[in-house]
Amino acid sequence: MRPTHRAWLVSGLGAVLIAVAVLTDRFLPLLGAGGLAAWLLTGQYMATRSFRATDDQVAITLTPAHTQVATDRETLITLRVERTRPTTTTLDVTAPLPVGAHSEVEPADRTVTLDSGEQSAETTFPLTFPVAGEYTLPQPTVTFTDEHGLVTEELLRGDPPSIVVEPPRPHNVHVGQAGEEIVAAFGEYDAGRRGAGLTPEEIRQYVPGDATARIDWKATARLNELHVREFEAETDRQTVIMVDHRAAMNVGPPGETMLDYAREIALGVTWTIDATDGPLGLYTVGDAGLTTEQTPATAPEQYTAIRATLHSLSPTETTSDSTADEHLARPAAARHLRERLAEEESAFARTLTPFFEATEPYVQRFEQDALFGAVERELTQLGGSVWTVLLTDDSQPNRVREAVRLATQQDNYVIVLLLPEVLFEPGGLGDLATAYERYAEFEEFRQELDRLPRVSAFEVGPGDRIEAILTARRQAEQTYE
């Protein structure tokens, strides 16, 4: 409980009367001081009663519009104050900002005032979180003020809600063909034969030579004849994810670029293969060559390492010119900094130089097309049956076509996951008719790939954008008819 200015003024009046009493040596002013003291104590006690009654009745809720938001995306927070019946206490409720959050509005705009007699009030304010993580909004600060304006009390009330802030990532990921979404999990494939495995396939009659361990006794009892259960064969086919992360893949809004979608799909494939303990490898291809080479393996660390590589993947650069916002993950920037450090003689340069020497991002540079070169190297290195999951865009159909043809040699299979550039370009859907024409061209190319032996080609992109293009086309056709 804190006295307000008014309480201090009344106390000051009492002090003046006491001073007059002492200075004049008269008892009379002390009676006045006693009267003012009685007035103050009455106000203080009545405030205590009113504060307690208010605290029992008031309900304060802090409600975020979303419990999950992306970094730097604005979300609205509603602060609502309600009491079951009016009391004489005035409430000022302020929602403090959580540490790390940012809001453009002033504290006054995050404050709700409930005057004596009023029963409910609310305010809404925007909040952004620059850093990902889980945030708990602090409890709102409630300030009670009594009806005479003598004392205030500050306390924390209300349940603090939590908000999970995630980095921007692709949403509504569509994998399909000609606008139709496929439902199979990424990375699953048909072995094409039956045999020993875990997934039941069918029950058939027992024939001499079948292992007795495979007899299905329940089916035998039910059908009164010996039956055996067949399982889907499990193979040790190697899967290689090949991710294109050239500069051309850096198209789209932050967190939703073509590379982000490719990464999301690649992570999905990794999880699926991880669940079946299948051999998995990763090749990443930059503008000038191969940037990562993780040959297929089944060790648990392999899947973790692949996921880590995928998470850290950023677009390479087409030029070697340095820019102000260079990042060490980019080869040109790392090279430039290494050269600068080499010119220096300081201890700082001597300490850092070895680290930069290890930042050569390319495993191997190719004179010809990087994607083609990467596939060639993959086939040279790996023996046996290989499934290649290729994630790239449609900007250079010829290079994709040649790389896919090469990848299917030696009876290998390829799944091509193509990202149509038209779905990611800023303003790409500005003219839906043109967008449809470009999508149709893409679809022709996808079908051409899909017709190649041992190749399955799919489109990958934001489902809502594909739907927008196809819906606009359907509506245009209906209008024309």
Binding site: H5, G34, L41, T90, T111, D146
Partner: protein, 174 residues
């Protein structure tokens, strides 16, 4: 806290409301004004009447608490050698001003009754101190300590009622 909120915290309402409330006369204000004019005139003649007018003027310009404080100082001139009856009458008139401040509260009867009880209690404390102690400054010192102790007790009671005090709470939240 915004300026407006601070002002409201000071006055319990907006500045305009507060100013208007000072000018608005409650029935208890009217009784206090009439009683002051009559009693002061009765105990001290025309000079007393003028003193009463001054107190009423102060009440009009400021508020009832300042009027009480000014009235107590004016009483020093009006009653140079106070006897019991005039003292009781003039103090009663001034105390009417004091309780009139609670006329428009939500729990008027309870508040005015409580204020009256505090007045009687603190009056008895002062009279007791006067009988016990010799000098005014001693009486004033002890009285201030008593009032501060009572105020602190109410403060602690309020914090306990609102659940702001725990067993592990330190001493620094007074």
């Amino acid at each position: 806290m915004s300026n407006d909120t601070q002002l409201r915290a000071m006055a319990g309402a907006t500045a305009e409301d507060y100013f208007l409330s000072r000018q608005r006369l409650t029935p208890l204000d009217v009784i206090a004004i009439v009683a002051t004019l009559v009693v002061f005139t009765a105990v001290s003649g025309p000079m007393g009447g003028l003193a009463g007018l001054a107190i009423v003027g102060v009440r009009y310009v400021t508020d009832e608490l300042v009027a009480v404080a000014v009235g107590q100082i004016v009483l020093l001139g009006v009653l140079p050698t106070p006897t019991l009856l005039p003292l009781l009458l003039t103090e009663a008139a001034l105390l009417l001003f004091l309780v009139s401040g609670f006329w428009e509260t939500r729990h008027r009867t309870a508040t005015i009754t409580l204020c009256t009880l505090w007045l009687v209690a603190l009056g008895l404390v002062l009279v007791g101190l006067q009988a016990w102690l010799n000098t005014i400054w001693q009486i004033a010192s002890v009285f201030v300590v008593v009032v501060l102790l009572i105020a602190y007790t109410i403060h602690r009671y309020e914090r306990v009622m609102l659940g702001l005090v725990t067993e592990t709470d330190g001493e620094g939240d007074a």
